[in-house]
């Protein structure tokens, strides 16, 4: 059977093409806001891609992944605050601190499993949150502003919005490529084996703890880089980016997009941030015919729709967006065969 061009791969190709050509659209239409929104989407997609490695492929339900966003971001911001503005120092430092944090958290939490694992990863993220809130020198609860974005000796200028967008996009594609290589390697096969049956993997001789820890550190490090990007994007870091509901958002992205799929987290990030951005307007429009006066206000309450929507997705659409695309393309395929 030759690999056919199906609906799912078409949509993914369209997504990649669309993301790549977005700055061209922005340059033509002058809609600068879209560039800001999509830079954020690309960065959050990268964080979700990293979470997907441990959550989707290895079945480790980490509920503290936003901590790495914060640690990467804070490392960048603190270095900037202390006068080190070179990105050649800031970014490797962000990678190193988040890797170290992931190593410590992973080594301790991976001793537990199930709900205990969920809760201990959450507890470590809360520790990072309180550490940042308590750091009076670096703004405490109020957060810390970055005076300048990371400097790359004039080679790449992150102040230019389109350049920054492409830097983020290249790093996102790089992360996806890395995950693709990893999951198709022996290492990735072992991880997926652990997801389906850890006891059996151990019984046939794999030191599963080491594999899980390695995956945990890779995911944390990748998310730390996303953190350095988000600090550059908003020119600001605050403890609230590590609050546990932010970790919840990341999980939502992964599951909404499709766990354990290559592009699922990107779809998930796109969908969640789009909902966040445009659901208020949709609600306002929907309410307008009934109550014109309160229509604008009704849009503010968009989460009242998002919450139950999540519940419905959990209950009825397990595969997420990627799963939906797969079943749609199967449907199309079958329809073709029926005709032919």
């Amino acid at each position: 059977m030759r690999p056919s061009i199906n609906l799912r791969s078409l949509v993914i190709a369209a997504l990649v093409l669309g993301l790549t050509l977005l700055p061209v659209y922005v340059a033509l239409s002058g809609d600068r806001f879209m560039l800001t929104l999509f830079t954020r989407i690309v960065i959050m997609a990268m964080a979700a891609v990293s979470l997907n490695l441990i959550l989707g492929y290895a079945g480790m339900m980490s509920f503290g992944h936003a901590a790495y966003l914060g640690i990467g971001g804070y490392t960048t911001a603190i270095l900037c605050f202390e006068g080190v503005t070179s990105g050649f120092v800031q970014w490797p430092a962000a990678l190193a601190t988040s890797a170290l944090f992931a190593l410590i958290v992973g080594a301790l939490s991976l001793r537990t499993r199930g709900v205990y694992f969920i809760m201990i990863t959450l507890a470590f993220a809360q520790m990072a949150y309180y550490m940042a809130s308590g750091a009076a020198r670096y703004g405490g609860d109020d957060g810390l502003s970055l005076d300048t974005r990371s400097q790359f000796a004039g080679l790449v200028k992150l102040n230019d919005k389109a350049t920054f967008y492409y830097v983020c996009l290249i790093l996102l594609f790089g992360s996806i490529a890395l995950i693709w290589r990893l999951t198709n390697s022996r290492f990735g096969m072992v991880l997926q084996g652990v997801r389906s049956n850890e006891a059996r993997m151990r019984a046939i001789g794999f030191p599963t703890f080491r594999y899980k820890l390695a995956a945990f550190v890779i995911a944390g490090t990748m998310c730390g880089l996303a953190g350095a990007l988000i600090a550059n994007h908003t020119d600001f870091v605050s403890p609230s980016m590590m609050f546990w509901t932010r970790s919840g958002d990341l999980i939502v992205m992964v599951v909404l997009g499709g766990m354990g799929t290559l592009f699922g987290p990107v779809f998930g990030a796109l969908a969640l941030l789009f909902l966040e951005q445009f659901l208020p307007a949709v609600i306002s429009t929907a309410v307008r015919p009934f109550d014109a006066a309160d229509a604008a206000k009704a849009g503010e309450y968009w989460q009242i729709v998002l919450g139950p929507l999540l519940l419905v997705i959990v209950l009825f659409a397990r595969g997420g967006i990627d799963g939906l695309l797969s079943s749609l393309s199967n449907l199309v395929q079958r329809g073709k065969q029926g005709n032919g």
């Binding site: 809360q126 020198r137 009242i304």
Partner: protein, 305 residues
């Protein structure tokens, strides 16, 4: 010394309050195997209900009773509409589904009560201080909290260990299929248990209402504390939740008031004062990490309840 005794009482009071929340969580987890993040929302609802009903009826006690009844009903409705469909699913599904419920409840509260906080006054007959030891005054309201929560803990103990419904609860926790096969209406039992947990959360919320401001998101911080307690105590164990709640209550309260001073003495003024605020809020999480590293199933694993 006066301060120390006062802080110990505060720790006891906070610990008992946390027990109310943790008991509901651990019941629901132990019996239905359900991770319920929306528990904090029920706590918030309890506080909002109490503030509204007390203003409406003009009586704190009447408001409190109505608020408990209100959260009980909301809990049972939520169970029938949403939670029931999550039993037997993956824990990831629980986390996501109930996370959705948090968003829903936060927004619902904002829609009904508006974005500003509410306040609930301490009832006038409790708004004074009582001399508990020579020279030590303690607010009557906080003493009342200790009495009420201890009574509720005793009630829970009797309910679970000494009554027929408690027998069913314990049986349901160890083997739900068998209990169902013996002809017990397991669906109704689950709805009741969930309602009980919700009512306990609502009670905790309304008790806290006069001490803190009633605001959106008030459940989100304390929910994590309650989870930490259930995990330290061993998920599903009420006794564990009780011990861990007191432990966390004491450590958190005493840690916040005395730990900074200790650090300043140990590390010197400069370093101590910098590290103290962060470290004293982290104490609980350090405790939890330490417990889980030594005993990955918590202090009282549910098997040995």
């Amino acid at each position: 010394m006066t301060l120390f005794i006062e802080q110990c009482l505060n720790g006891l009071q906070f610990g008992l309050l946390l027990f109310l929340l943790a008991a509901g969580l651990t019941l629901v987890f132990g019996i239905m195997d359900l991770v319920n993040l929306a528990h904090g929302s029920l706590y918030m609802l309890g506080a909002y209900f109490a503030a509204t009903f007390a203003a409406w009826t003009g009586s704190f006690v009447l408001g409190a009773v109505l608020a408990i009844a209100g959260t009980l009903v909301v809990g049972m409705v939520v169970e029938v509409i949403a939670m029931r469909r999550l039993y037997g699913r993956d824990h990831l599904d629980h986390v996501l589904g109930t996370f959705g419920l948090i968003l829903f409840f936060d927004e619902l509260v904002r829609l009904v009560w508006g974005p500003g906080g509410k306040s609930l006054a301490v009832p006038s007959w409790l708004a004074h201080s009582i001399q508990i030891l020579p020279g030590i005054q303690y607010p009557a309201y906080r003493l009342a909290i200790i009495v009420v929560t201890l009574a509720v803990a005793a009630f829970l103990y009797v309910l679970v260990m000494r009554t027929r419904i408690g027998m069913l609860i314990r049986a349901g926790a160890s083997n739900r299929e068998m209990v169902g096969a013996l002809g017990v209406n397991i669906k109704l039992l689950y709805t009741l248990i969930f309602g009980l947990g919700a009512a306990l959360a609502g009670l905790a919320g309304l008790i806290q209402a006069p001490i803190l401001t009633v605001q959106i998101g008030m459940g989100e911080n304390i929910l994590i504390l309650a989870f930490v307690i259930t995990v330290i105590g061993g998920i599903g164990s009420i006794r564990g939740a009780f011990v861990a709640a007191l432990l966390v209550g004491f450590i958190d309260t005493l840690g916040r008031s005395f730990f900074p001073e200790l650090l300043v003495n140990l590390l010197g003024r400069q370093a101590g004062a910098t590290a103290a605020p962060a470290l004293s809020s982290m104490l609980i999480y350090i405790l939890m990490a330490a417990v889980l590293v030594v005993k990955p199933q918590g202090l009282f694993p549910a098997g040995s309840r």
